[in-house]
Amino acid sequence: MTEHSSAFQTLPRKSATFDDYTLSEIRRAAATGIYDIRGGGTKRKVPHFDDLLFLGASMSRYPLEGYRERCGTEVVLGTRFAKKPIELRIPITIAGMSFGALSAQAKEALGRGASIAGTSTTTGDGGMTPEERGQSQTLVYQYLPSRYGMNLRDLKKADAIEIVVGQGAKPGGGGMLLGQKISDRVAEMRSLPKGIDQRSACRHPDWTGADDLELKILELREITDWEKPIYLKIGASRPYYDTALAVKTGADVIVLDGMQGGTAATQDVFIEHVGIPILSAIRPAVQALQDLGMHRKVQLIVSGGIRNGADVAKALALGADAVSIGTAAMVALGDNDPKWEAEYQALGATAGAYDDWHEGLDPAGITTQDPALSARLDPVAAGRRLANYLSVMTLEAQTIARACGKSHVHNLEPEDLCALTLEAAAMAGVPLAGTGWIPGRNGF
């Protein structure tokens, strides 16, 4: 090669379509013959709350004084039919995560942190543990297709019931807890032998469709003497119609989970390609509630990628009554902490990218049933970290609400927002920044 030709050689160019990750996944599939299973929510970039901004107060809006003028954060859930609605100090709840997927210590820590912060935790697909009930001032008991661990006496101990129709990471999908995470205790709670894969069904065994579900809700109300709020959790896919149907079935609270919401384990292709981002789901859900005259009467909790007080404030401004966090709560406990980097590397991952939660080898001791690994998590200290984090999120949401002149975070409204991108403007139904343009709303 002459000096002349090398000077004009182009740089090696990788394909944007066949990027390094895609190539590695093709090679992995070719080598193993199995699709990739992992935990968490979507990892690809999707339109999100970052694409929205608050306008704040100026000439035409008056702000409230930070640290001085009150800005309420309390929320009451389940006011439609339940005799004993849930009263929370903050509009941020802890999403359902199972004992089985999570260690007993992690569940206890979630309960401790939530109770300090004045909010609720939620069981998962595996029943209610005494640690969790004991440490959670307000506990929502999930009613899932598998009914693992579901029983009358625990149901009566719950503060609310959440019927799970689906979740954002995998609308239309069930789950699988692989055999390696099935300890004696997990096996006992789920009425299955130790060490075998435990399939969580994708459909409920005794009802199909909204008409049946209405009767199922009636049954649960009768069982619990109409005391406990009944939530209905759905994965974001057809939010307008799903919300309308949820109202029709008689739910007190709708939990709407976007595709960023995590799962303990499912196929990567499911996580990345089924369901829609939470940003695009809130307005249609709120619209359905408004069309039925049920906004604020049937409460809406949204989840999927909530990370900070700004996300909370934006979700509430779009019409939600509360938000729910799962992945972020796990991170607050210690998930993916760089202090375990050497061990993440040994597992073929790196801190921040570790998602093989189903394998039960979590160095942070959260998504595991291994006694030695689980013992790494101190439930008291981890619970305190979660409480601190919830407190910061709440303060951040209040800061924004006061800047918008709101005396309660629920007074935030779409008019307080603008969008940075056309996609976000269309999805959230707020104008593109600096314009009055809401794509699809005013003639365009």
Binding site: S146, R190, I196, D197, R199, P205, L215, L218, E219, I223
Partner: protein, 229 residues
Amino acid sequence: MTTFDLETQDLRALNAALHKLPLAGSNQAFRVLNPNGEHSIAVGVDADVEITIDGPVGYFCGGMCRQARITIEGNAGQGVGENMESGLIHVKGDASQSAGATGRGGLLLIEGNASARCGISMKGVDIVVKGDIGHLSGFMAQTGRMVVFGEAGESLGDSLYEARLYVRGPVTSLGADCIAKEMRDEHRAELYDLLKAAGEAGKIDVGDFTRYGSARTLYNFHVDNAGAY
């Protein structure tokens, strides 16, 4: 004997009265008149109580009950005895789909036929059906026993775990991982006890039944089994 007439009294009053019974030692009897297919009759009861329902019931009758002994003098709608934990539910007529779904204990006795998904996801309950059962019965059944005097529809015991199914009549087809198994002495003894509980011991020969159970080949995911489902 306490009598509730659902033509003049509402369901809420009935279930509230049943829920007020003490956990132990109530030893009471309730009679429910004119059920007329009402849903959620006698659900979530946790007491030593005898409940007789004088006619057909709708969805979820006896759902999530413990201890209670319920007799339904008629047909039962969807999900009768769902998630029952102990006690007895005796259906004198036929049962609709998902009878005994996720049941954890006790005995569900059906004099007539049961429809699709009988014993789906059962977790310890015993189910005896004197007639036939519909398709996908025993789907993902975890533990417990199901006895069927008549025929079973398509895909019996699909993705079965450790539940044991005894069927006397023909089975249209077996579901994934469900196989006929040898009847050993312990199975004949177990079946005899179940027939006894159903009031049929001595009248029916345990030797007429075939035992079905899990081949246990799908207990741990393996790519080579992907086509088996």
